[in-house]
């Protein structure tokens, strides 16, 4: 290490120590301090680690957590940015707060990296593997189109041509560009590949990257993910090395499925989470971890699901689920459809920078499915409550079951009196954070993240 880097690292570590012990914070400030002293500090620290980068628009946080859980079956002291600080400074902080790896031995780091930050990270650290989850339309005001988002990730991958790219094979865009890297694909293979269907209207990324005709599917898992093929030019899904071979049970709290014919269970609902588990399984198998060890790792996943936790509020079982784009919203609606009991539905919409400042995307969510579910009460709130209120009205939610409550503090009071035991809150990022903070203040959520 150069003296400058030593100093930078020291300053960063002590600021972390100070913030952590006295301020109760410290997720990106140490990184800011350190990178201000030496922008190359990441390069210096990163040399001591074998790095796996997880990127894509949806599922990064949980995939990262599951990969860590799986790798723990074989390795100790895995460094990861579990607070979700996934840009350069947050990742620098992550390394600074980690225990130094044993001298002469490389540590392992599993990093969730924001799509636009893959390149700046890879400029400093050469990863061994990239895990790509999906590219869905997400916050167009920030990153633009799915193709430009993918290009940002590719610009980083190109700087590490030896790294294995472990990608979702059901996502057509991941098969659209030639790469020098070794590529491995995972995906769903739980239905016979005999159908011929098109994606639902409202789905992005359904043009053949070779001849620009509409893609067809033997079957669709959700959105534009599935066993796709182009009837015009023969472009098709690549061969999958790791496959979901069966899905036997789905509830909001549980999924039972088979990968490569081995049975697994995770304590969380949503088909998208099965993809996340599949990605983690694929990493584990690639590094020689056995199926029964992976099963063991998944059984320990209960506390990983911070974005979908259950909170007891005066006897009500309240789940807060983050929504931020149409595909994610549709997956959550799909999850609610697996709920066997009646429940209440709360939709909270903000449009701050972290939420995405454009609310148009709510029109692409399949809220029309809600009136068919056993929902006893609807409530809409948040700063853009008018938008989400009208959206539900148009979706057919009856006025007499629908209350409007802009004030999130009052939403908590209302939840206590809802007519069902179960309450699902769908919230955009800042609305979720504000709800969590309020619930914490009132003692319904304990501790930090």
């Amino acid at each position: 290490m150069t003296l400058r880097s030593e100093l930078a690292t020291l300053a960063g570590r002590s600021s972390y120590w100070f913030l952590h012990n006295f301020m109760g914070g410290g997720s990106s400030l140490p990184g800011k301090i350190t990178t201000a002293i030496d922008p190359d500090v990441l390069q210096e620290i990163g040399k001591n680690y074998e790095v796996i980068i997880v990127s894509g628009t949806n599922g990064k946080t949980l995939t990262t957590a599951l990969v860590v859980q799986v790798l723990k079956e074989k390795y100790d002291n895995i460094v990861t940015n579990k607070t979700g600080s996934n840009m350069v400074q947050g990742i620098t902080s992550t390394f600074l707060e980690a225990k130094r790896p044993t001298k002469g031995k490389k540590g392992i780091a599993v990093l969730e990296v924001d799509e636009a930050n893959v390149k700046p990270i890879v400029e400093k650290i050469k990863p061994k593997m990239f895990i790509l989850t999906n590219i869905f339309r997400d916050q167009l005001d920030r990153y633009g189109e799915i193709y430009t988002t993918y290009q940002k990730i590719l610009d980083g991958i190109k700087l590490a041509p030896d790294a294995v790219v472990l990608a979702n094979g059901d996502e057509p865009i991941f098969h659209s560009k030639e790469l020098p890297n070794p590529q491995v694909y995972y995906g769903f293979s739980n239905e016979p590949a005999t159908g011929d269907m098109k994606a639902a209207p409202n789905t992005d990324g359904i043009l053949c990257p070779v001849c620009q005709h509409l893609l067809h599917y033997h079957y669709i898992v959700y959105a534009n993910l599935g066993d796709y093929f182009c009837p015009n030019c023969g472009f098709q899904r690549p061969d999958l090395r790791f496959k979901v071979t069966d899905v036997s049970e789905r509830t909001p709290k549980d999924s039972k499925f088979a990968i490569d014919d081995n049975q697994y269970e995770i304590g969380v609902g949503g088909t998208y989470n099965i993809y996340n588990a599949l990605a983690a399984y694929a990493v584990g198998r690639e590094v020689g971890i056995q199926p029964d060890q992976i099963r063991h790792a998944f059984e320990n996943n209960q506390r990983l699901f911070g974005r979908q936790e259950e909170i007891n509020v005066e006897g009500k079982d309240v789940s807060i689920i983050l929504v931020k784009n149409p595909v994610g919203t549709n997956q959550v609606i799909d999850l609610l459809a697996t709920e066997p009991d009646s429940f209440s539905f709360v939709g909270l919409l903000n449009a701050e920078y972290a939420d995405g400042i454009d609310t148009s995307w709510i029109w692409d969510g399949e809220f029309e499915r809600l009136p068919d579910m056993d929902i006893k009460q609807f409530e809409t709130g948040g700063k853009r409550y008018k938008d989400i209120t009208f959206r539900l009205k148009v979706a057919g939610v009856p006025d007499d079951k629908h209350t409007i409550q802009p004030d999130l503090g009052q939403v908590i009071e209302d939840i206590k009196h809802m007519p069902t035991q179960k309450v699902y809150i769908l919230a955009t990022y800042t609305a979720m954070m504000e709800m969590r903070a309020r619930l914490m203040k009132q003692g319904y959520i304990k501790g930090g993240k």
Partner: protein
């Protein structure tokens, strides 16, 4: 008599990036209140478009790649789209759809692509800058204000025989210079208001819906039905 409105969602599977389908959902919402049925159908790459089969059309915004593919297919549907417009049928064209109804547009990578010249505006490109944010305009004929969200890199200039949908009160509009937003030709509206312009502007939706109905059922007196529709705005 049960009345209906048949909606063509032009390239609805490719040009629907900003919740454009919200316009159709909103039309159905208001139509239901007066017992009018709304059916909709996507008309995409491999489909024929026949003006006589539809009473209302939505042509949304798309990503550059999709828009380029649609631009190649559009000449196949050009004559029927122009026929549809000249029959006074309402059409809402948002963002990319708006650009492609004009004479030409230049996309983000600098390519100049022909439009179908159904309207006389044209679209140039600004460099390294997008117009993003909330927008508010006032329609000078009706005095009504419309709210929305814009996110576009193209800058559009109106042709001689076109007039704007409104005067920009807040935001950028067509080109950030002349304080105009959108273009009107017959009952066709081109606009940069993202997708659900109809969802957020009830008066505008009501007007478009009754234009479609009056055009389709010229002998019917809509006075009573008009009184029944209470437009919502946010």
């Amino acid at each position: 008599m049960t009345m209906n409105i048949r909606v063509a969602h032009l390239y609805g599977d490719l040009m629907n990036t900003y919740g454009d389908i919200g316009n159709i959902l909103t039309l159905r919402f208001y139509a239901k209140q007066i017992g009018v049925e709304v059916t909709d159908q996507i008309v995409s790459l491999e489909d024929d478009f026949k003006a006589d089969d539809f009473d209302f059309a939505v042509f949304g915004g798309g990503q550059d790649f999709e828009q380029m593919v649609v631009a190649k297919d559009l000449p196949n549907k050009k004559d029927e789209i122009i026929k549809f417009i000249e029959q006074n049928k309402p059409l809402i064209a948002v963002c990319g759809g708006y650009q492609m109804l004009g004479k030409y547009y230049v996309d983000a990578s600098g390519r100049k692509l022909p439009g179908i010249s159904a309207m006389n505006h044209y679209t140039e490109q600004q460099h390294e800058h997008r117009f993003i944010g909330n927008i508010e305009i006032q329609n000078e004929a009706t005095g009504q204000k419309y709210h929305g969200f814009e996110n576009h890199q193209g800058i559009t200039f109106l042709g001689d025989d076109e007039h704007a949908l409104g005067k920009v009160l807040k935001g950028y509009g067509n080109n950030g210079e002349d304080h105009t937003e959108g273009a009107v030709h017959k009952n066709t509206i081109g606009t940069y208001f993202h997708g659900p312009i109809m969802a957020r502007n009830g008066n505008f939706s009501k007007q478009m819906m009754f234009e479609a109905l009056e055009n389709k059922y010229p002998d019917y007196d809509f006075t009573d039905l008009k009184a029944k529709v209470k437009p919502e705005s946010y």
